[in-house]
Symmetry: C2
């Protein structure tokens, strides 16, 4: 297989980071930008990274998806609050076998994109990374950086493997994982911590320090695990919740992406992080009362305090 070409849709903290790593490796990468298109077209991208900084003075920057070429792989780093935009952003980039990798948080993302693009090969990209973009063209990569790829509907094993190998060659800790298990495992951490840091205006460490919220976080994790089990994912159990608690105890005090979205008054990813998994569980008769309550508190806060 010849070298794969890439497009990055949503060149933010996540998409921008992985795209920049691919470009640095020498892959052909086309970046779709929004607010900082002009800046990046002129100055390129810069990654300030815990693993060493690097600059890409010249990148293929686009302000309009319709001007972009068809590619072999699309890395989607869009906020899922803009998921509907993919219906118009993706078509110019896709040939029949283009693999679309959704590097996003939540449940139900691939199902929606598949409905919009039947037959298109899709994969989930589960990033474990602390990264932010606070200035035009500058990606701040604080720590971690691994990515797990879960195959959703890619029938070409060689294509999937080639993408995985590109990530590895680019210096990224990348592994293939079971799609559904990986999405739900990530939800075990994401569902409690994203919303609770917003609802209580705090960070991960404080939630775990107070016995009352520590138990609540654990109970919420067990709701996610219960839902996953009922949905047929039997590889996640209590020990995984304990592991996530321990891992978070060992982390620096952390504000998850939803807390940052709230603080910067951006819409929150309530639909894919909460509403969809809650609906999937309910469809098979499993209730998640604590996480549904959190979803409702977040909906209230978004309407009442962010005005979205």
């Amino acid at each position: 297989m010849s070298q794969l070409s890439y497009a990055v849709v949503g060149t933010g903290a996540i998409g921008g980071y992985y795209g920049a790593k691919m470009a640095r490796l020498g892959r052909e990468v086309h970046f779709l930008l929004h607010s900082d298109y002009e800046y990046v077209r002129e100055h390129g991208l810069c990654v300030c990274s815990c693993d060493g900084d690097f600059a890409l003075p010249q990148v293929n920057a686009y302000g309009d998806a319709s001007a972009m070429p068809k590619v072999d792989v699309v890395l989607v780093g869009l906020k899922s609050t803009n998921q509907h935009l993919l219906r118009t952003l993706l078509p110019p980039l896709l040939h029949e076998n283009t693999l679309v990798v959704l590097i996003q948080n939540g449940i139900g993302l691939e199902a929606d994109v598949q409905e919009w693009f039947p037959g298109q090969p899709l994969a989930a990209g589960l990033a474990f990374i602390c990264s932010s973009k606070t200035e035009p063209g500058i990606i701040n990569h604080q720590c971690y950086g691994s990515i797990n790829l879960g195959n959703y509907s890619c029938r070409s094993a060689s294509l999937f493997e080639a993408v995985l190998n590109d990530f590895i060659e680019a210096g990224i800790d990348a592994h293939e994982v079971n799609y559904a298990e990986a999405r739900w495992k990530k939800a075990v951490w994401n569902m409690p911590f994203n919303g609770m840091t917003v609802a209580l205006q705090t960070q991960t460490d404080k939630l775990l320090k107070h016995p009352a919220t520590r138990q609540l976080i654990y109970d919420q994790m067990m709701e996610v695990i219960g839902a996953a089990n009922v949905l047929g994912i039997d590889t996640i159990d209590e020990s995984f919740a304990q592991k996530m608690m321990q891992m978070t105890d060992d982390m620096v005090p952390y504000s998850p992406s939803m807390r940052l979205d709230y603080d910067f008054r951006r819409p929150m990813e309530i639909h894919y992080i909460y509403s969809r998994p809650i609906a999937e569980a309910r469809a098979v008769g499993f209730e998640m009362p604590r996480l549904e309550m959190l979803e409702r508190e977040l909906m209230f806060m978004e309407k009442e305090y962010l005005g979205h």
Copy 2:
């Protein structure tokens, strides 16, 4: 029966109001005061009321319970966060047949006081009143004012009835109610609205305006009703939740007492309004996940933001 004598323990917005009405009726009333003792001893009490203002320029004011006489009836208007103080405040006021009326919010109040004072006649006073005390000696009575009395352990029907009649003679809408049913009916309103207005820093009207929180409030009410049912109180059902929703829709935007406590950085009545009913329900195998989550959020906020 000769005229009853009264003591008011906790001469605040509630205890002060009902005690002042009794004093105005001509009953002997002894008021235990704390922060505004000096002021009230000199200037008496003033009730600014939607039903007409009245002043009591001279009242029996005490700064120390041990200086008070024994009485026939004690009206307890203490914040339940200070409930433990009753162990030392009550003994000087009690003879064997003194009826102690707990005009407080929550579940389990009478059980604790009974444990501390075995055999003492107790009753619950369920006040439906909007009232506040913002200045020394001044009680602002905005609206409502009725009280329901539930007999907990008073074996003298004539004493209980005499107290009820005193409330009525004092111009208060007062009724006898079933103790357990009344406490749990009050919890149907109190448990959702007290905590949710704190957790989301809002008022009753906003919680009901947003569909997400409107449903949550309803679900929380149904948790209280479910607990009451399992505890053998079979007279409360869904229609009562609907009635409470409707009643709150018809109210002016309202900040319940817990919201005011939070705003004034006072300890919140989490124990008797949340922890006790949750524990009572759990003891008979009924879980209240949404209200337990709310309890835990409030515990976090109290520690983290009020520093109690």
